[in-house]
Symmetry: C2
Subunit: 277 residues, 2 copies
DNA sequence: GTTCCGCATGAATCGATAG
DNA sequence: ACTATCGATTCATGCGGAA
């Protein structure tokens, strides 16, 4: 079977991917249903069963990913009985046994985290974006995510509005859009492994969207135009839209037909490809 | 033996703590020698041996810590052979078997991280501050680390200078100092589990100092004046100085006499206790 | 066209209450 | 006793409407 490109496929990603050929995906970036979350829609996997549930799927991810490809897993451990549960770190250990390399762990600082107050902890304002690879040599285009933040840029930024300044603090290109070309040839710096992005809290159709900037950043970093991006838990379609906007092919999978429809609408509602990338 | 207070003791913390009574420490906060780092000074423990080396020491930490106390471990996994090494997550698993509760993991965002460029990764701008406890109920004074950042403050901040605004962004009390009292009674918010603090790059006598703000923040959060703070890897004495400034007792331990001397000088050079806390 | 203000909205967590 | 459900808590963000 050939790889179906630019499609949203309904089904369990384990079953769907079994029909895919080996080494056909350049980047997998996904935010799976967290343990015990989204119960009403996804059924909810108990934290204690999460690793066992996930491993057969990462096995398929490993097979379909190209040797030079990357797998970015956005995840966070829940608090269970007053403690951080260990399913995420156990998953890392088990995936290494499966053959994955644990290359890096990015920290996504969620500037607008969920509110609340408890006697024994503060609000959780960060999630892991764990980078796995098949080999030590993988594709990476660092220049694609460089940030205009030299002295010249800094001076100019002082004249921007408060809102724009806030966006600039994210240091991740978001908020600059078309103007980014103005910064070419100026002082630009490489980002770090800490990403500052706010969640999108205005999406009423899907309870757990990550911001488009997140997959967008990793797509620019780990793929080039024409490459294939897979999100095995596509949800509302954020990853597919991000890939589309960057002239990459996408493959989206979700077990719920409802979300597949949502993702299809999102990709088809795209007004145009916003160039330049 | 009674607990020796406000002293820097030379020796391996395992041996030194064996002579301490049970349940005598309110907070342990430390940044141990990282695996295979600081070879010249600490001898360097190979990453593969790190957990085995560390566990007998955490066993003593567990014994001397009060039931309501907290252990904050500032650590980060090294890159070994292109991969993040697993000694930190293995350590968490093993310490849980030892009886520790893995309550939380704070993210310390190092705003001025170490420079450098590599083909396959970005600069590492965050470290883990892992919180362990003996029981679910522990002492925590959240009000002590509240931050002036409500709507009212936000509006007002627009009129402050650029420099002040930058300091404000740190959200961790650093940079506000005396002015912070002006904000009392106004909108203050609780912080999150992401700490934004710059590293101190001016200490050339010790190879791995963390900024005083880091132990200071945790000391304010998990102890009250008169409590006892232990740093079993005291290094240049940052934790002892922070405890002293906050009117807490300290116990510092280091295997190297050279660092003990350095720490003693640091505590004795204290000009005065900077009140208010 | 700007800027400003008010408002709804969250991958949360704890503790109490109910079965 | 042990599990399931529910209310209270809390704040950065982006939207729409207003000045």
């Amino acid at each position: 079977m050939l790889t179906p490109l630019d499609e949203i496929i309904c089904g369990d990603c384990k079953d769907v991917l079994e029909k895919f050929p080996d080494d056909c995906i350049d980047l997998i970036v996904t935010s799976p249903p967290y343990a015990d979350s989204r119960k009403k829609t996804y059924g909810g996997i108990h934290p204690d069963d999460y690793v066992k549930w996930f491993l057969p799927r990462t096995e398929q991810f490993l097979r379909v990913l190209k040797p030079t490809g990357t797998f970015i897993l956005n995840i966070k451990e829940k608090v269970v009985d007053g403690e951080r549960h260990t399913y995420v770190i156990e998953l890392i250990m088990e995936m290494r046994r499966q053959g994955w390399l644990w290359t890096e762990e990015f920290c996504w600082h969620k500037k607008n985290c969920y509110p609340g107050k408890w006697p024994n902890r503060f609000r959780d304002a960060w999630e892991r974006c764990i980078q796995f690879n098949k080999q030590k040599k993988f594709n990476m285009n660092q220049e694609a995510v460089m940030v205009p933040m030299g002295n010249w840029a800094k001076t100019r930024l002082k004249r921007l509005s408060e809102t724009d300044k806030r966006r600039d603090e994210s240091k991740v290109e978001s908020g600059f859009g078309k103007n980014v070309s103005n910064w070419l040839g100026r002082d630009k710096v490489y980002p770090t492994n800490v990403l500052h992005m706010a969640t999108e809290c205005n999406n009423r159709n899907h309870s757990a969207t990550f911001p488009e900037d997140l997959p967008r950043w990793f797509i620019k970093l780990f793929t080039k135009p024409g490459d294939v991006v897979l999100d095995p838990f596509i949800g509302s379609g954020t990853t597919a839209v991000a890939a589309m906007n960057l002239n990459r092919h996408y493959v989206g999978i979700d077990v719920l037909e409802e979300y597949c429809e949502l993702a299809r609408s999102a990709t088809q509602a795209m007004p145009q490809r916003k160039l330049p990338i």
